[in-house]
């Protein structure tokens, strides 16, 4: 359960303050499959960082499962991110000098999963992200953009999070691979009731979700259920 109450996020830069998120109030129930969409620069990634407990709002309250994020310490937040949340960053953020498998296993290392189990879990995650097995031992900076994206998705799925935050997860993928990834998300949502928040600016991608939130200049301009 996610509740945002009057979330404001401002950034300071040389020319003063810019307000990126302006008084956002909305809630997301457990098991929802949501797409957040909007033009470039509208504040989607900023919102995702707040929803993922990576960043804190300048003002307003963010409650995750009924608890105010502001009340947690750094380490408690790290634990929440590790156990509950899976991120797919817009810029992937893979460890360049590590292999694909190592990248995907990293959240499991911090979750203290026994070493023998890690590889099995990581291989499963990579499979559902649609990466060809022959790349598993490549260094991640030797991959194409689309391949990196699938590694990033696998890493987000690997710790079996109840909340998946995916920032443009299909942005670098061809339609066919994109469909595979979206199917994976759908399956996770349908069968395991994981909450999925998908950020995209493609209408067709957004339509896979049950609900679409539309943001423009840091304000929610539309919030509706899709027909299916």
């Amino acid at each position: 359960m996610i509740e945002c109450k009057n979330i404001v996020k401002t950034y300071k830069n040389d020319s003063g303050e810019i307000v990126v998120l302006k008084d956002l109030t909305f809630s997301i129930k457990d098991g929802e499959f949501i797409a957040i969409t909007g033009p470039s620069g509208s504040g989607k990634s900023t919102l995702m960082h707040i929803l993922g407990a990576l960043d804190t709002p300048t003002s307003g309250e963010y409650l995750l499962d009924g608890k105010n994020i502001a009340d947690f310490s750094d380490d408690e937040l790290a634990d929440i991110r590790n156990k509950k949340i899976g991120f797919v960053f817009q810029s992937f953020n893979l460890l360049a000098r590590s292999t694909v498998l190592r990248n995907v296993m990293l959240p499991l290392v911090y979750a203290e999963i026994p070493k023998q189990e890690r590889e099995t879990i990581a291989r499963l995650a990579l499979k559902s992200a649609g990466l060809d097995e022959k790349h598993y031992n490549n260094l991640s900076n030797q991959l194409s953009g689309g391949q990196m994206q699938r590694v990033a998705i696998a890493r987000a799925l690997v710790n079996n999070p109840t909340l998946i935050l995916a920032d443009e997860p299909t942005g670098n993928l061809d339609t066919k691979t994109g469909e595979i990834v979206l199917k994976t998300f759908e399956t996770l949502n349908r069968e395991q009731h994981h909450t999925i928040i998908l950020i995209t600016h493609e209408k067709e991608v957004a339509e896979h979700a049950d609900r679409i939130i539309f943001i423009r200049d840091g304000v929610i301009t539309d919030d509706y259920k899709t027909k299916k």
Binding site: G52, D55, D75, A78
Partner: protein, 406 residues
């Protein structure tokens, strides 16, 4: 995060940057290695100086004719130049309390011949107490006896260098006993050969011939004069008191107010020599210590660069669940691993240098456990101290800012 995983992260991070890790380790290797080698060389020369002074005899007071000069450390050439000490002085000293033995000696350099070979060496007129006082051992035969001194027997005990010079390097020692040597056209029968002692330069105790002091005074030097009186005190503590007693006694006997003799106290010589070598060791050690600190700064520099370079990585790790201590331990661990590797290689290198110095430059080096423990401790401390700041900085980074870092 489990320890083994932490170790693997550290290990692979260091391997990913081999050249930089290697150079940083090198800084520590040089630091630790030089601390160990320098302390080993310093302590080695200290103990070799001390033992060569001790090998002259223990609890020794050396009385020589002529006024005191400077610190009381006289060069041997000065000895015997004036004639103020006599054998009677020696006898008087032997009746003082806390005197263990007295050895009056008269020495000079003479030409010695034997069976066509000849050599120029020190002839030392001695009494039977000489071996005890001067820490000399006889290897073959006997030393000069009281009877020899009393009856003025023309017998000689020769040092191993003299034996080699006169009879050749590979002569059988027992065959030399009973042979005759000529000093100043007087025949002496060899009755003993002393054990090799080593020593070098003006202080070669193997290149010497001992004859009864009475014979020496009668035929070589003339008169009742002696060139040295060596006095062995019964214990180290008595030496200062004994020195004053002897001074009073001799001033009285010579009937003078300022001393016409000088007394060297062995303890003083040892103390002076070891304070010199101590300073020397400390100097070497501190130079090496500075290079250790420089090595430590190298580690800090590398860690700060690493933290800056890997800011995005730190952000990512935090985003997917790394706690502060995980990041802290990872970077601290990298620093400690660098110093430990450097420390171990440095210790090996330091021992190797000491060994080479011992083998090829005959410096009596001693690698002390103290210096190994010290430098190992120091290297660990350097890792922690110089790694702590960068590691702590990394652990406090805000994940999202770190992820945006370029």
């Amino acid at each position: 995060m489990k320890f083994l995983d932490l170790f693997e992260e550290i290990y692979s991070a260091l391997l990913a940057n081999k050249a930089r890790s290697g150079l940083t380790i090198l800084g520590i290797v040089i630091g630790i290695g030089s601390v160990i080698a320098m302390i080993a060389i310093g302590q080695g020369s200290q103990s070799s100086i001390e033992s060569s002074i001790q090998s002259l005899g223990s609890n020794l007071l050396l009385i020589t004719p002529g006024a005191q000069r400077g610190m009381g450390v006289q060069v041997s050439q000065g000895r015997g130049s004036s004639q103020t000490l006599t054998k009677d002085d020696a006898e008087a000293i032997s009746s003082l309390s806390s005197v263990l033995a007295v050895s009056p000696e008269v020495s000079g350099r003479y030409q010695v011949t034997a069976k066509g070979t000849n050599t120029n060496t020190t002839i030392n007129g001695v009494v039977s107490a000489y071996p005890t006082v001067r820490n000399v051992e006889v290897e073959t035969g006997n030393f000069i006896t009281d009877q020899n001194v009393k009856s003025m027997s023309k017998v000689a005990v020769i040092g191993p260098s003299v034996r080699d010079d006169l009879f050749g390097e590979d002569v059988d020692s027992s065959g030399v006993i009973g042979q005759t040597i000529r000093i100043k056209s007087i025949n002496f029968t060899i009755v003993g050969i002393t054990k090799e002692k080593g020593g070098s330069g003006f202080n070669n105790q193997d290149d010497v011939i001992y004859i009864p002091i009475t014979v020496s005074q009668q035929y070589l030097t003339g008169g009742n004069y002696v060139s040295t009186i060596a006095v062995q005190a019964s214990s180290q503590e008595e030496m200062t008191v004994l020195q004053t007693d002897i001074t009073t006694l001799l001033l009285d006997r010579h009937n003078v107010s300022t001393a016409d003799f000088s007394i060297m106290n062995q303890a003083d010589i040892v103390a002076t020599a070891s304070s010199v070598t101590n300073t020397f060791t400390m100097l070497l050690g501190s130079v090496a210590g500075i290079s250790l600190v420089v090595g430590g700064i190298g580690i800090m520099n590398m860690m700060l660069t690493t933290v800056t370079e890997r800011t995005r990585e730190i952000g990512l790790r935090k985003a997917i669940g790394a706690k502060r201590k995980d990041i802290n331990f990872q970077f601290l661990g990298e620093a400690i691993m660098l110093t430990f590797t450097g420390g171990i290689i440095g210790i090996i290198l330091g021992c190797l240098v000491s060994f080479v110095a011992y083998q090829f430059f005959s410096l009596a080096t001693q690698v002390s456990t103290f210096s190994v423990v010290l430098s190992f401790g120091v290297s660990g401390a350097i890792g922690i101290i110089f790694g702590y700041y960068p590691a702590n900085r990394a652990s406090k980074l805000n994940p999202i800012e770190a992820l945006r870092y370029e």
